[in-house]
Symmetry: none
Amino acid sequence: MVINMGIAERKEKEKQQMRERILETAKRLFIEDGFDKVTIRAIAERIEYSPATIYLYFKDKNEILLALHAEGFERFYKLQQIILPIRDPWKRLREHGRIYISFALENPEYYDLMFIMRGPVRELKAKKEWSAGMRSFEFLKENVKACMDAGYIQRTDLDVAAFAIWSFTHGIASLVIRDRTANFPERLLPEIIEGALDFMMRGILKKNSK
Amino acid sequence: MVINMGIAERKEKEKQQMRERILETAKRLFIEDGFDKVTIRAIAERIEYSPATIYLYFKDKNEILLALHAEGFERFYKLQQIILPIRDPWKRLREHGRIYISFALENPEYYDLMFIMRGPVRELKAKKEWSAGMRSFEFLKENVKACMDAGYIQRTDLDVAAFAIWSFTHGIASLVIRDRTANFPERLLPEIIEGALDFMMRGILKKNSK
Amino acid sequence: MVINMGIAERKEKEKQQMRERILETAKRLFIEDGFDKVTIRAIAERIEYSPATIYLYFKDKNEILLALHAEGFERFYKLQQIILPIRDPWKRLREHGRIYISFALENPEYYDLMFIMRGPVRELKAKKEWSAGMRSFEFLKENVKACMDAGYIQRTDLDVAAFAIWSFTHGIASLVIRDRTANFPERLLPEIIEGALDFMMRGILKKNSK
Amino acid sequence: MVINMGIAERKEKEKQQMRERILETAKRLFIEDGFDKVTIRAIAERIEYSPATIYLYFKDKNEILLALHAEGFERFYKLQQIILPIRDPWKRLREHGRIYISFALENPEYYDLMFIMRGPVRELKAKKEWSAGMRSFEFLKENVKACMDAGYIQRTDLDVAAFAIWSFTHGIASLVIRDRTANFPERLLPEIIEGALDFMMRGILKKNSK
DNA sequence: CATGAATGAGAGTTCATTCAT
DNA sequence: GATGAATGAACTCTCATTCAT
């Protein structure tokens, strides 16, 4: 019995590993060649398995996308935690903004899937998996609330303020990711982004604070 | 002669109308079912013509997308002009923001094509048609500059400030269009958007102005 | 009545002219861009009429091909007549060979249609229009017979000898036209052809003649 | 292990057989209905598979044509080797001619593809695959040279003489294959061909030899 | 006489998915 | 557990042809 459990566990672990290999590959294709190139065949080819094998680990293509989606949110959430140690709410919020954008730009494929792409999300809403996104939004709200409590931000409806901030960072991220920044020379882009972030955050800061 | 002219004119008009029906249908499919579902066949089916007929009005699928793209920017640019009469730069800028978002939300298909979609833009960049987008950005910069000159906005790098504002409005628009606002009850959305816009604009306003 | 006849005649002439314009255009397309490019649309475009108009002058595309075919044979036959004045049968035959090849190389599109292409011929056989080809073959036979009678060529079955000669010239023509002469540098081709013709004709010549 | 090898081998063999079925079918369509009718769909229909299946065995349509082409030249070359044992150059050359024509008439699909068809050859030339054809031509030249050395054929430029002979046999083959022999009753055709071959070969033979 | 408008048929090709082995 | 083999459904696009005007 114990032995069987051991075997079962190992099997389970192997299964999990295979799933991850598939996801990893899907993600890479996604990054490198764009969404259209994420075909079952292409994934299969890269991991040197047959297309049919993929279906042993995922019900269909959509499930792969969904899993990627979930994984993306997981990473995103974890990454955000690194701001927790920052005591000062205002500094924490600024860092929150920075980290949001850097996640987006360093993981454009995830970000795209999570916040831009159309396809997979439809069914998510039904399946309430959007809750993953919600959790992050709540996290932001807490941060904003702390800033209000500490007098850094003018008291406003919390949802409104958080949505505004989110919109702003998302705006930057999605313009860059979807390549609408041709106006600027590429090499200047980082400092323009940095500057824009500063510009907005400074604005949010309450007039007479500090 | 006059009669012939009349006929020719009518024919021309009918041709134009057909083009627009096609574009309209493409737009609708686009927003309803996503880019992938914008197929020649689907368009043809909806307007109850054969696929081959489409090709009498457009060279190929890409031309349809390009036409939509161009038309979108045209409308967008024209719409923006209505803020010109507003004298006060600050009020003008606020209105600019409002109008930007309302264009996006009222013409989500166009907006998506213009500022979010990936596909068709690639070739556009090469073809300098992105200049249409540039023109609008320049327009925004002028507006921002006027605000700085009038002391409404802290003097900052113009590109940076304009990019920040654009990012913000684009962020709102694209979150809504790509359906990432499930956190909020749909009926509250308009006032949340309005509130967020206010919140940000108030922020941008120079501390000691007014 | 007389007047009507005049009008009818003129109409007929105009109709004929239009047919020829179409044929001419078809031929040109044929030469310039190859068989595949001979589409009704392409023809129509070049003569600046609508595709539908073509059908007022020809029943269908095949009829155009057939007409071209006939025209080709007509020209071919006429061209061959220029050897008639040559008295000496042997010299006449040699010239026959030369003229055959030069027709082929100077009118490759016709030649191809007449002697190589597959498509249009099927129905020709049924319609006995191949008689045009036959007539030319008979002409060759007469020439060969004269050579035999004059002792230039060993007496053999006339059909056999004529077929052999025809095969030879056709072989050269079709290898060149269908581009199987890559072995030879292009500039040498003319003299190789000339040489081959000489080589074969000299061969045919009866051993002890002259 | 042995068993697996057996299975692998069998699979490989089956795969090869399928490829050959496809090629065979393509060939047949080709000769029966002409090049235009060689469509992926038509092939699929005949072998009672779906069009998509074809693509499991060939990258695209062109690859099928290329494979046929290559196979054709391979067979052709091999077939020609059977004249090698013939010692006497003249007899060898005669046999060469006979074998050329019989290859053409027994494998009209291959012959057409190799020496008549227009389409696929274009790209071949670039890819040097025409070298296969060249090899055969060189083989002929050797044969002709031997005949000259042995005094059977008047000394002439080797290229010229070989080209002449090739043209002749090709002429016969292509007239027959492309169905321009309606002048003759079908049943007499074989002996006419045989006769023509004799007629020409006898001609080539040097006057005072033997 | 001429044609604008339309289309059915059909081409090559790709993909997610299934299923017997 | 893995897969080779197969396919239905789709895609974009082209062409010869028709017909009402």
